[in-house]
Structures are given as structure tokens and as C-alpha cells.
């Protein structure tokens, strides 16, 4: 199992989008983050299963398929082992969205470790005028019981 083969897998599910400034998964450190969280073997298993689906369904290797067919293979592999393979796909998605380049490109605000905060404009509380105008909705409570 080569790193390049795994990158092919991750790039199939998370390709780049140059128009949005988004890199493919292989350039966003997905393999490394997934491995760092102890899911390297699961990633390899997902690739083996996807490769098997490619040969069975399309009669060729995973890396020879079109981008859409690669996704089909990954999804079919997952559906055959939902409990076993869903966690690594979820981890890959989370890993991709930890990359500062990705986060900045998508306008996610300040990026961890948060050297700066996010600005939110002051609110115009006249928006609450209708709520004030309707008056109190506090439910009256009888006071017949004394408190200790």
C-alpha cells in the first residue's frame, strides 16, 4: 500500500476545486491526520475494498476509473461494511477541514489556534420592540405557600 495509492483514494472523495481555492485532499494532509488519529489501517482497508469493487464492477483498477466511478467504488465498499469503514471516511472529511488553507478558502473565520477572534457587528435591539410591546408573559403564581 503506497502513499500515492492512498492519495488517489482521498483525492477521489475530496478533489480540489481551483475556482474556490480549495486543494485536493492529498495536498491538505488528510493521510497524515488520519494516520495520526490511529486510522491508517482502516484507510488501507478502504482502499483495498474500493480496488476490489473497481475490478469486480468496472473490470479495471481503481486509479484507471473516472472521478465519478471512483466515488461509486468507495461508496459501495462502505455500504458493504458500514460499521467498519464509515469511521475512516468521517475522519477523512474532518481531517480535510482542519487544513488552514482549506478553512481560509471557504471563509471559515479565524483558524485554530485562534490567534485572533471573529468580529460580529453590534446588534440593533429595536428588533425587540414587538416583543416589548406585547408585554409580560410571566405566568402569575399564587403565593399561598410560605417558604422556609
Amino acid at each position: 500500500m503506497t502513499a500515492a495509492a492512498l492519495d488517489t483514494l482521498w483525492d477521489a472523495i475530496l478533489p480540489g476545486d481551483p475556482a474556490r481555492g480549495l486543494p485536493p485532499a492529498s495536498q491538505a494532509g488528510v493521510s497524515e491526520v488520519v494516520a495520526a488519529h490511529g486510522l491508517g489501517e482502516d484507510a488501507a482497508r478502504l482502499l483495498v475494498r474500493s480496488e476490489a469493487v473497481a475490478r469486480e464492477r468496472f473490470g479495471t483498477g481503481f486509479d484507471a476509473l473516472t472521478p465519478a466511478d471512483r466515488v461509486t467504488c468507495v461508496e459501495r465498499a462502505r455500504r458493504a461494511d458500514m460499521r467498519g469503514l464509515t469511521p475512516v471516511l468521517v475522519a477523512a472529511l474532518r481531517a480535510y477541514y482542519t487544513d488552514p488553507v482549506v478553512l481560509r478558502a471557504m471563509g471559515a473565520g479565524t483558524v485554530p489556534p485562534f490567534p485572533e477572534g471573529n468580529a460580529l457587528n453590534d446588534d440593533d435591539w429595536t428588533l425587540l420592540e414587538p416583543v416589548y410591546e406585547r408585554g409580560s408573559i410571566v405566568r402569575p403564581v399564587p403565593k399561598e405557600k410560605g417558604s422556609p
Partner: protein, 533 residues
């Protein structure tokens, strides 16, 4: 161990408030025993780029996911709601969202008003000064003048609504329904020696900024300055009695694994709605063979959890909805009070939640088949991220003795003490309430011009509010402690956490639990003195 005046078990929301209030009397020697360790804000997930992955391990609020040796096993397989519970110095406030609204006056009189639940042995008015004191200590943001609540004296400036919050505020206005900015334990300006919030978002992974009012940065610094001694890594396994059925102290396992006894004139329990009944049930004796204070069989029963319904709306526009404190934006209490025409008693609060962060947006979208993998992923992600909002319906569940916490001898903690087994079923009243709440949430999103993309209840991973398992009352036959938290049958034993709640209200319980704690501890020295006389 040298005898002390007061031993407090648990350092969370109520334990911290108790320690602070009692230690204002510098003549008291007070020790707090906490089974967890101290938090390290420098290692909170949000200090790392991969915080959305890190939050699912050691920073999870769910003991089974966190796998911390300080935790005890919680089997919640017989409950549709999973139990969230943090054993650490500061307790669950380390990971809560900081939503701290007060109970309403009617919450203390549900039997009188609506014929359900039981009345509390105190009133909202009794707690009013303690609510205010607690808000000052915790640093609570909000806006005075809320028509759904008796007026507040003073609050920090409200948490910003952001474009999404404003849109939903307009929607509530269009419907003619109540809404109000959230009551959040979030510093919107510098307060209590802590910095202001800078709208990072992930409050519930721990606030490294220190702007969120978790008790490790609010009550505890002052309590420590006032002389309280805290021992972390100390798991209390038994409340001890003397020969006269009075508490004599506690037995615990210290951080080095050694068994210790801390004798004390007064024992105060603040271990949460599951930890407190666990300790009581495990403290058996000749006088209490079924567990301490359990002569009536009430300990562990009447568990209330606030079942939660969730609706998500998707807007066409980018409303920057993920920016800001995640759990605090605005709330509506339009349906808080009973209306017989709705087909259920009592009511609920609608909390507006900000949109999820990028990773959670992608994962949820993928698993719900809205954001595909592959070539179309980024387009669909761009249409979703920062375009969503959530409405959480927090429903008041009524006390039911069959909903309970019991010891689980099949699963034990690191010291061999049984964990807990949680049995909980949604009542019919609650089911009708949740269905109503989901329908009204859809109305809000329709008025806001959003498309509803999910609506379901109950949400499993929401069991933060643990209440009712050692309830208070005036009658020893139907309650465990009195209005001051004093055990009916062991007069120098006090329970000051949300275990004592008689009913659940329909708001997050922390503010009410802490106000109760302050009131109890205001009276505790006199009450204990009278009991000793």
C-alpha cells in the same frame, strides 16, 4: 487526615458555588474532594488545528467516548438519551455551552398550577437574590427586560446575534412570538479578571480564552483564595456514619490509590444527578441497608433529562452562521407555560443554535446524504456551510419514579465501585410536547425563509441535564432532603446539586442549581448548628 468542618464531594457547578459561599467564613476548614483531574486550557482542542477531531476523544462529554480513568461506567443503553458527564476539576461546566437562563416562577408550583409533578418547598422569589449573585460570579451576558421572566438586575452585554440570529429574530417577530437574546455565561466584556469572548465558536470543547464562565475560572479562584483545600484524583466511595446515624465523613481512594478517610462535621454532596445517587446507593449500613437516605426508596428515582428535539434550517444566503458562541444566540419562551389547547402540560424553550463548524457540516451532510463525496462535494458544501441554523426544543419532562439511576454491579470503576445503569422512557406528555416543538420550529424556519432539512426527537447525545434523583421537599416520606438540602434522616449531610430538583423546568438547570446551592450554603452553618444542638 485531620478532621475538617466541611467536606464537599464534587467540584462542578454546585460544588464550586458551595465552596465559595461557605469559605466566606474564614473560620471554617473546608476540603473538596474531586475524582477527576485539573483541566489544562493550554491543551484544549480549540488550541489545535485539528480540534474537530480532537473533541471526539479526551474532550468528549460522554464517559464511554472519553475513556478517562477518573470516570465511572454509565450504562445508558436503556435510555433513548445518552448521559453526558464530566469528572474533572470544574465538572461538566468545562464542556457546557454556558447557557444559563433561570427557571420561571411557575416551575416551582407545577402541582398547584397544572396538577402535574410536585411543588417545590421554596419559591422563585426565595431564589431571586441568589440568582443575581450567581450571575455576578459566573459572568452572565443577556438583556434585562425580558417579558417572559421576572426582571434581572444587571447582566453583561448580550452575546451578538450575528446575521443568522437577526434573521430568526425577524421570523419570531413575523409570527408574533416571544424571543430574547440568550442568557450566556460568556464574558461579552472583561469581567471577573477574565478576558472578553472573541467569538471563536467551540465553547463546548473548553474555552482556552477563559471567556466562558466554567467554574474553574469563576468560583474556584476565589474559593481557593479563601482557603478551601482541593484534592483532585480522589474518588469518594462511601459516606460514613457514626453510631448515631450522623455523617462522620467520607472514605475515598486518593490519587496514589491509597484508601483514606476524611472526617468532617458536615458532609456536602455535589456529584451531579447521577454521581450523588450512586454514592448514596453505595453507602450502605445497618441503618440504611438499601443505600444512604434510601429508606423511602427514592434515591435514584425521578430522573429528569430534558429530552431535546432538533430542527435544522438551510438558508439560501451565507449568513456566517457558524461564527460566534456555538450554543448561545437567542431563545424563545413562547411555549414555556401550559396551554390546555396544546394537549400537554407544561412546555418548552426553543434555543437557536449557530451553524456547525466545517468538519461537522461536512460529516453530517455526508451521513444525511446532502453533501456527496467526489466532484460535487465542494459546491454542495458551499451551499451548506454558514447557511444553516438549528432550533433545539428543550422539553420539560415530568418526574416519573420509573426513570432512574441504579448501581450497575456488572461494570465497575478503577476502584471496583459499581457504575450506574440509567433507565429512562419518554412519557406521553413529553412526546406530545416534542412533536409540538418540532412543528413550531418548522414554522419559525418557514417564516425565516429557510428550508427545513432535518427534524427529529429525541436527540440521543444530549443528556447533560441530570435532575431529580434525590429530590427536596417538606415530607420525609416523599423527599430525600429539605429546602436547605439537609437530609431528612441524617441532619449533617447536605445535597446541593441538581439531584434535589423537584421538577425540571424547561431551561438549562445550571443557574437554578447554583442559586439553590448558594441559598443552601447561606443557611447551612445555622442549620447544621441547630442539628448538632
Amino acid at each position: 487526615m485531620d478532621p475538617v468542618d466541611v467536606v464537599i464531594v464534587g467540584s462542578g457547578a454546585s460544588g464550586a458555588a458551595a465552596a465559595w459561599r461557605l469559605s466566606r467564613d474564614r473560620s471554617l476548614r473546608i476540603v473538596c474532594l474531586e475524582r477527576g483531574g485539573p483541566p489544562d486550557p493550554a491543551r484544549y482542542p480549540a488550541t489545535r488545528a485539528d480540534w474537530e477531531m480532537a473533541r471526539h476523544g479526551a474532550a468528549s462529554p460522554f464517559p464511554g467516548e472519553r475513556a478517562d480513568p477518573a470516570d465511572y461506567p454509565v450504562d445508558d443503553s436503556a435510555s433513548p438519551i445518552a448521559i453526558a458527564h464530566v469528572n474533572a476539576f470544574g465538572g461538566s461546566t468545562l464542556l457546557y455551552s454556558g447557557h444559563v437562563p433561570r427557571f420561571h416562577p411557575s416551575d416551582f408550583r407545577t402541582r398547584t398550577l397544572d396538577g402535574v409533578g410536585e411543588d417545590w418547598p421554596l419559591t422563585h422569589e426565595d431564589l431571586t437574590p441568589y440568582f443575581a449573585e450567581n450571575e455576578r460570579m459566573m459572568g452572565v451576558a443577556g438583556l434585562v427586560g425580558d417579558p417572559a421572566n421576572p426582571d434581572y438586575d444587571s447582566l453583561l452585554p448580550p452575546v451578538p446575534l450575528g446575521p443568522m440570529g437577526r434573521r430568526l429574530g425577524e421570523a419570531f417577530n413575523a409570527l408574533g412570538w416571544h424571543w430574547w437574546p440568550s442568557y450566556g455565561a460568556i464574558n461579552t466584556r472583561s469581567h471577573g479578571g477574565r478576558a472578553a469572548c472573541i467569538n471563536l465558536g467551540p465553547c463546548n470543547t473548553g474555552c482556552a480564552q477563559g471567556a466562558k464562565g466554567s467554574v474553574d475560572v469563576t468560583y474556584w479562584p476565589e474559593a481557593l483564595r479563601q482557603g478551601v483545600e482541593v484534592r483532585t484524583g480522589c474518588a469518594v466511595v462511601e459516606v460514613l456514619l457514626d453510631g448515631r446515624d450522623r455523617a462522620s465523613g467520607v472514605r475515598y481512594i486518593d490519587a496514589e490509590g491509597r484508601e483514606q478517610v476524611q472526617t468532617a462535621a458536615v458532609v456536602v454532596l455535589a456529584c451531579s444527578g447521577i454521581g450523588t445517587p450512586r454514592l448514596l446507593l453505595h453507602s450502605t449500613s445497618t441503618a440504611f441497608p438499601d443505600g444512604l437516605l434510601n429508606d423511602t426508596g427514592l434515591v435514584g428515582r425521578n430522573l429528569m433529562l430534558h429530552p431535546l428535539g432538533y430542527t435544522e434550517g438551510l438558508f439560501d444566503e451565507d449568513l456566517g452562521s457558524s461564527i460566534g458562541p456555538q450554543g448561545c444566540c437567542l431563545l424563545s419562551q413562547q411555549f414555556y407555560e401550559t396551554d390546555p389547547d396544546r394537549g400537554f402540560a407544561r412546555g418548552y424553550t426553543m434555543h437557536i443554535l449557530r451553524g456547525p463548524p466545517p468538519g461537522e457540516t461536512a460529516v453530517t451532510g455526508y451521513l444525511m446524504r446532502r453533501i456527496p463525496l467526489g466532484p460535487d462535494h465542494h459546491r454542495r458544501m458551499a451551499e451548506t456551510f454558514n447557511h444553516t441554523a438549528g432550533i433545539a426544543v428543550i422539553a420539560e419532562d415530568l418526574p416519573d419514579p420509573d426513570n432512574r439511576v441504579a448501581l450497575d454491579p456488572d461494570h465497575t470503576d478503577a476502584h471496583g465501585m459499581p457504575g450506574v445503569r440509567v433507565t429512562y422512557t419518554l412519557g406521553e406528555n413529553t412526546k406530545r410536547m416534542l412533536a409540538h416543538g418540532l412543528d413550531r420550529s418548522k414554522d419559525v424556519f418557514a417564516a425565516a425563509g429557510a428550508k427545513v432539512t432535518a427534524a427529529f426527537a429525541p436527540v440521543r447525545q444530549t443528556g447533560w441535564h441530570l435532575m431529580g434523583t434525590a429530590r427536596m421537599g417538606t415530607d420525609p416520606r416523599t423527599s430525600v432532603v429539605n429546602a436547605f438540602g439537609q437530609a431528612h434522616t441524617v441532619p449533617n449531610l447536605f445535597i446541593v446539586d441538581s439531584s434535589v430538583f423537584v421538577t425540571a423546568g424547561a431551561v438549562n438547570p445550571v443557574a437554578t442549581a447554583q442559586a439553590l446551592t448558594l441559598r443552601m450554603c447561606d443557611h447551612l452553618p445555622d442549620v447544621a448548628r441547630r442539628a448538632a444542638a
